[in-house]
């Protein structure tokens, strides 16, 4: 283990970004595009290699690298376990697709856009493998800068409003987390996650600290009622930005809940389960209804993301292996499917320059290939068996039924609502009479669009039928986490008797 494979994963996109930024050929867009594509594909290959090397029977952290950073205070520490590896692979998988997709969508300052995406990749991978709270915070926050620019520079009409809302909401949530991190340091003398797992945090302070972390993750997830930034950000962001946002940025929070909320504050997590369940149910039911009412395609998918993430938070806080594994699976699945849906929206938006659902209708007769691909992802999003969406939702509901029957029943209604809004969206766009003359002029998918979407479709269907590679990667680590959790809760209840 001499080769620092994780650090290379983190630093490689940045090197690529700097190379593009300082290369002289400002007019030559193709060069920048090929460099960034090459870098991101290399990173993807590296992460697959990492996955192959990864020992999934071992629940402890692997590939751990530690370096002295601020002397005697904070160490740069990265490492992965079965939970984080999948998110890293997801990140490196989605990024090249984003880069291919910018081909047609970004007209001005393409070079800077690619630089921002590559910086973003560094931050996202960093979030998923940092094993020190301060390092985690650094990556978590630094990701705001490129995303703010992506929305603000290349976004739509109300981009300034959306970019500000995105930035300030997330920053406000995160500063409280920073206070909590510093408090943890002064309580325990370390911010090293592995050490903190073993040391445990005084149960007196866990509730407050949990809330501070929650404030950050809840905004990022996003949970009801702090979800309002997401539809705005999604609607205004360029397609590639929406894809990154939906596929990876939202997952940071889910990952944070698993890694930090449950891992560090087990007793508080137990205590706040009712809160999470309530908010998740509201997210599932309420935002599904909101999604039904949307006139804007992107907004509809954004609200559906909120509902899906509601399932994720619910599954995580069931504290059962099925629930947590299901949540991880659901996050990966949502990463693939929502990315694909945003790309699908991007495809027609590029041609028609409107996202209003009523302007479409009858696309199937002019874009048959598009109709097929869009169908696959619509069914994936509503959780049809045979797609990844099904496995995730099924496992989550399985876990929830085990702990709380009522919650699970209500959540199941959400599945039906999900089917309703997705199918209705599909019907309104693809079927029906062609009412708009411009729809007749639409051209079917071109080659690069076809490549991206079919790759996503294949992955989604493959893991829908054969989820084992993903589930077996996570299961050992998830069980380790739950064991730790149960042990802590047991000690706590024993001491309180």
């Amino acid at each position: 283990m001499n080769f620092p494979i994780l650090s290379s994963l983190i630093i490689l996109p940045t090197i690529g970004a700097l190379f593009i930024l300082f290369s002289r050929s400002s007019s030559n867009y193709n060069a920048a595009k090929y460099i960034s594509l090459f870098i991101s594909l290399a990173n993807f290959a590296l992460s697959i290699y990492l996955w192959l090397l990864f020992d999934s029977t071992n629940s402890s952290f692997q590939f751990v690298e530690e370096k002295n950073w601020i002397h005697g205070f904070i160490n740069y520490k990265v490492g992965i376990d079965g939970i984080s590896i999948l998110f890293i692979v997801l990140t490196t998988f989605i990024t090249p697709l984003c880069i291919i997709s910018v081909n047609s969508t970004i007209k001005n300052k393409l070079k800077h856009f690619l630089v921002a995406i590559l910086f973003m990749e560094t931050m996202m991978i960093g979030v998923f493998c940092s094993l020190d709270l301060v390092i985690f915070y650094l990556f978590f926050e630094a990701g705001l800068i490129p995303m703010f620019l992506i929305i603000g520079i290349w976004g739509g009409e109300r981009r300034v409003y959306s970019a500000f809302k995105f930035f300030l909401y997330t920053l406000l949530g995160s500063v409280l987390m920073l206070i909590a991190i510093i408090s943890i340091y002064w309580m325990t003398g370390t911010t090293d996650v592995i050490e903190l797992y073993q040391l445990g945090i005084d149960s007196k302070y866990q509730n407050l600290l949990w809330l501070a972390f929650f404030s950050s993750f809840a905004v990022k997830t996003p949970m009801w009622p702090v979800h309002t930034w997401l539809p705005d950000a999604h609607v205004e962001a360029p397609t590639a930005g929406s894809v990154l946002l939906a596929a990876i940025l939202l997952k940071m929070a889910g990952y944070g809940f698993i890694r930090f909320s449950i891992g560090l504050f087990p007793i508080a997590s137990e205590y706040f389960v009712p809160l999470i369940f309530t908010l998740s149910l509201i997210a599932i039911i309420y935002t599904s209804f909101v999604a039904l009412m949307q006139e804007d395609m992107k907004k509809l998918i954004a609200y559906s993301s909120v509902a899906h993430m509601g399932f994720v938070t619910m599954g995580i806080f069931t504290m059962t292996p099925q629930g947590i594994e299901g949540s991880i699976f659901q996050m990966i699945s949502h990463g693939i499917i929502s990315a694909a849906l945003f790309l699908c929206v991007g495809v027609v938006y590029e041609r028609m320059h409107t996202r209003e659902i009523s302007k479409y209708g009858g696309i199937v007769s002019v874009m048959p290939r598009y109709a097929v691909v869009f169908m696959i992802f619509t069914l994936g999003a509503l959780g049809l068996p045979g797609t990844t969406g099904f496995i995730g939702e099924f496992l989550i509901l399985l876990g929830t039924f085990k702990v709380n029957f009522t919650v699970a029943t209500i959540a199941s209604v959400g599945v039906i609502l999900g089917a309703a809004y997705m199918l209705w969206l599909y019907r309104r766009i693809v079927f029906g009479e062609i009412t708009n003359a411009e729809v007749k002029k639409l051209v079917d998918l071109n080659r690069s669009e076809m490549i991206i979407l079919s790759v996503l479709a294949i992955v989604s269907i493959f893991f829908g039928f054969y989820p084992d590679p993903l589930l077996s990667t996570t299961s050992a680590s998830v069980e380790g986490l739950i064991e730790l959790f149960n042990m802590n809760v047991k000690i706590y209840t024993a001491s309180n008797l």
């Binding site: 002295n68 950073w69 601020i70 002397h71 301060v134 915070y137 650094l138 926050e141 630094a142 705001l144 800068i145 703010f148 620019l149 603000g152 520079i153 981009r159 300034v160 970019a163 500000f164 930035f167 300030l168 920053l171 406000l172 500063v175 409280l176 920073l178 206070i179 510093i182 408090s183 340091y185 002064w186």
Partner: protein, 470 residues
């Protein structure tokens, strides 16, 4: 007595007189004196660094103190003075205010600051303060044909005189009740809580708060910042704060260290008020210099928060903060100096509109500086705030920490607004690109430090951790 310890100050005084002679007797020596002043500062820097290794020692019967804090702050002052001078050369030249008095006044004010930084006695401290301030009054109104500049000078003079009066009154109270002007001696007598000393302490804190423009004694700052020539504004925003902060540390932690319960509340109030006010008041500003004035008020709030914690770690975090603040200020003003077209310098926020289209590199530099000022990781500004709140939270001052962080979010709004104007809006002005080497160098160095600080934050920490006051 060891005169070697005050050799830098002696050297600087002699140089000032020598340069004055050159200026008087040689015709058209503006450039020469300017360049010689920079040279003087570089030599001075070497002399001060030479004293770095010396342990705590006193001269002039314990009224003048040389220790790590004073050496570090002097180095900070001199280095930023050098960069201030090399970056503002073109500005002064263009505005035709490059006279021989300018560099000499700057040098005198630096001499005053050095005396302030090292003072261990009320009278020595006051001497340094006045030397520094007198030079600054003239500098503020240096562009004398400009109404705003003259107004700035007068305003600064009147308000500063008022604060000096308060300060002096406080000093006399302290002297009256303790029987000495020496810090160390006062510390020993202030144990038996006399009310007179506490009154004196409050007056002194008020006077000093004026100098670093902490709320509610900040009223002069926006007008003076806006009215003064930009080169002088840079000087105002950077150097006097270092000296005043050092004096703050000295006062609070040497003579009045036993009265910590008394001054801690005042400092917490000053800090919270500055952070909140600095964040909110900056939102409506249209002039970049006014904006940076409010921003610097906010930043002083954070620096004071570190001092309020009453620990060595708090002091160290404040010193770190002011160091990074200086770098950010230098970088920001270097960008301002670059907004020049046909001998006019632009300083309205709207002039930045769409800057990224015509000046990509300058825009990236500004982007880094602004995000750093907002305190977003991984830039240096984040670490500055991080250390402050480490110290604050260690003392369980959660209220201060939470207010501080929330005002960071509010402050982020106006920095983001600038970024929005630079990057999201339509382009308007196209500025000239032929900047002189000194300006480019200042901008490059300061921006690189801000951007790459996170790779090895230990360097600054190791030096600063040697500053141990209590």
């Amino acid at each position: 007595m060891n005169l070697q310890l005050i050799f830098p100050e002696i050297y600087l005084s002699l140089s000032i007189m020598f340069l004055l002679m050159i200026g008087v007797f040689k015709k058209d020596s503006d450039n020469l004196v300017y360049n010689l002043s920079i040279l003087t500062l570089i030599v001075l820097l070497a002399l001060v660094i030479n004293l770095f290794s010396i342990n705590e020692s006193f001269v002039f019967s314990e009224s003048y103190k040389i220790d790590t804090l004073s050496s570090f702050m002097k180095v900070l002052t001199i280095v930023s003075a050098i960069f201030v001078m090399i970056s503002s050369f073109i500005y002064l030249k263009t505005l035709k205010i490059l006279k021989i008095e300018y560099p000499i006044l700057i040098l005198s004010s630096i001499l005053g600051m050095m005396v302030m930084i090292s003072s261990n006695d009320l009278i020595v401290f006051y001497l340094g303060l006045e030397l520094q301030s007198l030079a600054l009054y003239v500098l503020a109104s240096f562009n004398r044909d400009n109404v705003l500049s003259s107004e700035a000078g007068l305003k600064y003079f009147v308000l500063s005189a008022l604060s000096s009066g308060l300060l002096l009154y406080g000093c006399s109270l302290v002297y009256g009740f303790s029987g000495s002007t020496n810090f160390t001696y006062i510390a020993n007598t202030s144990l038996d809580m006399k009310y007179g000393i506490i009154f004196g302490l409050v007056f002194i804190i008020v006077g000093l708060a004026f100098k670093i423009s902490a709320v509610p004694f900040h009223m002069w700052a926006p007008d003076v910042y806006e009215g003064s020539p930009t080169a002088v504004t840079l000087f105002f925003a950077a150097l006097p704060k270092v000296a005043a902060l050092t004096v703050f540390i000295r006062f609070l932690y040497t003579p009045f260290v036993n009265l910590i319960d008394q001054w801690q509340t005042i400092l917490i109030f000053l800090s919270i008020a500055s952070m909140v006010f600095g964040a909110i008041a900056a939102i409506g500003q249209l002039n970049l210099k006014r904006l940076i004035a409010y921003s610097s008020i906010g930043h002083m709030g954070y620096a004071l928060a570190g001092l309020a914690s009453g620990t060595n770690q708090g002091i160290q975090s404040s010193v770190t903060y002011i160091t990074i603040y200086l770098i950010m200020t230098l970088a920001f003003f270097s960008c301002l100096f670059m907004l020049r077209k046909k001998n006019i310098f632009y300083e309205k926020i709207e002039d930045l509109s769409g800057l990224s289209n015509n000046h990509p590199i300058l825009s990236i530099a500004l982007l880094i500086v602004l995000f750093s000022l907002a305190g977003i990781p991984p830039l240096a500004g984040f670490f500055a705030k991080f250390y402050i709140f480490m110290a604050v939270i260690k003392q369980s001052m959660y209220f201060l920490a939470i207010v501080g962080f929330l005002s960071t979010v509010v402050a982020a709004f106006y920095y983001l607004r600038l970024i929005k104007i630079i990057y999201f809006d339509k382009s308007k002005e196209k500025f000239e690109t032929d900047h002189n080497f000194g300006l480019k160098l200042t901008l490059a160095i300061s921006t690189l430090i801000l951007a790459l600080y996170f790779i090895y934050p230990g360097i600054l920490n190791e030096i600063v951790s040697k500053i141990i006051i209590i």
